[in-house]
């Protein structure tokens, strides 16, 4: 028998590839895309590597390791679910680390194979990589993935949802920046800018309190009560004793009772009241979001 070392049996497509490829090919035919026009061949390998770096578990599927891919997928889904469930808590962070490790391990497996193929193509010797180099590569991949995840969370947190630590525990906030959707009495998260009014220093950050009045509402302060459109309620801490106002069209009234702690009181109550009123009339541009009513079965502030 001649040269048994020659590979004489062609590569075969797996089940999933057979399933989705006809759709992709039909789409290409309809649109008139040529593979060579889409991505230049010299960067195709690198682009694929980048895609495998960004999409978790995809590298393991690409390698055709179906059992491992199932385990990796299961592990990743478990970790992500755990992270979402306990978002903002230390346990959630541990789950996120788990997801990061599964993602990184899948990519490192693929990277090893990709690198070997590259060496064979460039006709360079495929030597065993030393342990130090492997550890360094692993660490580098984890750091890079950490940066990718951090960038993703930074980009998402004020656009979709994010955790907020309050005195009552972690609250998961849904991004909402429109005054039109707010209701009286609803909890709202808003931005407080660092500012100074007379002798009152206000530190910046996020505040979370109830919406008292919406644009156009008439608010009256009188002694120990305040009234919104004639509906009286007990006055909140440091509210003005006298006065009235009509909420401007692009603002809502959120008294920062829960959000601010007054450290010392060497200034008059009236000055504090005026300073707090500056914060309390929240413009639409400073709105951040509202808490979800429940988060994975956990009842939140309503």
């Amino acid at each position: 028998m001649a040269s048994p070392s020659v590979e004489l049996y062609p590569p075969r497509a797996g089940f999933w590839r057979k399933m989705w490829r006809p759709v992709y090919y039909a789409f290409k035919r309809e649109v008139g895309w040529e593979t060579k026009d889409m991505v230049p061949p010299e960067i195709r390998g690198s682009l694929l590597l980048l895609i495998c770096f960004l999409i978790p578990v995809l590298p393991v599927f690409r390698m055709g390791l179906w059992r491992s891919a199932s385990v990796f997928s299961g592990g990743y889904i478990f970790c992500v679910t755990g992270f979402l469930c306990f978002i903002g808590e230390p346990v959630g962070t541990a789950f996120l680390m788990g997801a990061l490790m599964v993602h990184g391990m899948g990519f490192l497996l693929y990277f090893r194979e990709w690198n070997q193929k590259r060496l064979i193509q460039e006709k360079k010797p495929c030597e065993n990589v030393r342990l130090k180099s492997r550890l360094a590569a692993g660490l580098l991949v984890m750091v890079m993935l950490g940066i990718v995840y951090w960038l993703a969370f930074e980009g998402l947190q004020y656009r979709w949802f994010f955790p907020l630590r309050t005195a009552d525990g972690i609250q998961v906030i849904r991004a909402q920046k429109s005054l039109a959707r707010l209701r009286h009495g609803e909890w709202v998260v808003f931005k407080i800018h660092q500012s100074r009014f007379a002798q009152v220093q206000i530190h910046g950050g996020l505040g979370m309190d109830r919406v008292l009045a919406l644009p156009g509402d008439r608010v009256e302060f009188h002694g120990d009560v305040f009234a919104v459109n004639g509906n009286a309620s007990p006055a909140l801490t440091d509210m003005p004793r006298e006065g009235r106002l009509i909420v401007p069209p692009d603002r809502c009234l959120v008294w920062p009772e829960q959000s601010l702690r007054i450290r010392n009181r060497f200034v008059g109550e009236q000055v504090i009241g005026i300073a707090l009123m500056e914060i309390a009339l929240v413009p639409e541009s400073r709105l951040i979001g509202v808490p979800y009513p429940t988060w994975f079965g956990r009842v939140q502030k309503q």
Binding site: M1, L8, P10, P11, F27, K28, R29, G32, E34, K36
Partner: protein, 257 residues
């Protein structure tokens, strides 16, 4: 039946062939491979062509046929990869160039596919397969010259049922079942003793809603070769055809023919 029957030991291929005194060489496996191809058993055909290459890695027919098998199995990307590998050895093989063209056009790379088809013709490729492949590319590009290419292939067929069968399969791939049926009827005229031809006719009839005709065709195929690949599955699908499809097929066959 032993649970080890499907394992390949040494040169054995299939059941009970250890007792066969026939010399198992390159020609033996090549004939076996052609037989599998003509029976529509592309998986076994692929294996048998690999066996041929174990005996002679320079057999260009086997390399080309492997690419054809992968195309018939719907694994176009693998067919392209394998064609590239084969073209490193046989850069001027017309059928190989044509087969790569088919793989590319089925993947949607229509311009490159045409270039390979042109190259196959330029290499004095005047075989039926080269013209079938060109017709395949033309069909994918929705050009009108596909019929011309298939007619050219039929001229080279020499009353062989195999060529119209292949053409019919190409038409089926592009969902042109009426043309596929018309072509396979030519194959039936030339040789009605081939199970795969009846099976292909049945597939076209089934796709067109001619359920009664399809049942008849499958029945003929089953009589000729009860072990034909995919026949059981096709018959099961036919059994599950709903009432309206059957009624539409009956209407067509009664009033349109």
């Amino acid at each position: 039946m032993s649970r080890f029957n499907n394992l390949e030991f040494g040169d054995s291929l299939g059941d009970g062939q250890e007792q066969n005194p026939v010399l198992k060489d390159e020609n033996y496996y090549l004939n076996e491979a052609h037989r599998f191809y003509e029976q529509g058993d592309f998986e076994q055909g692929l294996r048998a062509y690999s066996k041929v290459l174990e005996y002679n890695p320079e057999n260009s027919v086997a390399w080309t046929a492997q690419v054809k098998m992968l195309i018939e199995l719907g694994e176009f990307r693998e067919a392209k990869v394998w064609a590239d590998k084969a073209l490193e050895r046989f850069p001027h093989e017309p059928e190989l160039l044509a087969a790569k063209g088919v793989a590319l056009c089925r993947m949607g790379d229509l311009k490159t596919a045409m270039a390979f088809s042109d190259a196959a013709i330029e290499e004095r490729g005047d075989t039926a397969y080269v013209w079938i492949a060109r017709g395949d590319v033309q069909l994918a590009r929705r050009e009108k010259h596909a019929d011309f290419c298939f007619n050219k292939a039929m001229e080279r067929a020499g009353r062989s049922w195999f060529v119209p069968w292949l053409i019919s399969r190409v038409y089926s791939h592009y969902l042109k079942f009426a043309l596929a049926l018309q072509t396979i009827q030519k194959a039936l005229e030339w040789d009605a003793g081939q199970a795969v031809v009846w099976f292909q006719a049945g597939r076209c009839q089934q796709a067109m809603g001619l359920v009664g005709h399809a049942e008849y065709s499958y029945e003929q195929a089953a009589q000729l070769n009860p072990r034909l690949m995919a026949l059981q599955e096709a018959r099961r699908q036919l059994q599950e055809t709903d009432f309206w499809t059957r009624w539409r097929g009956w209407w067509r066959s009664t009033f349109n023919s």
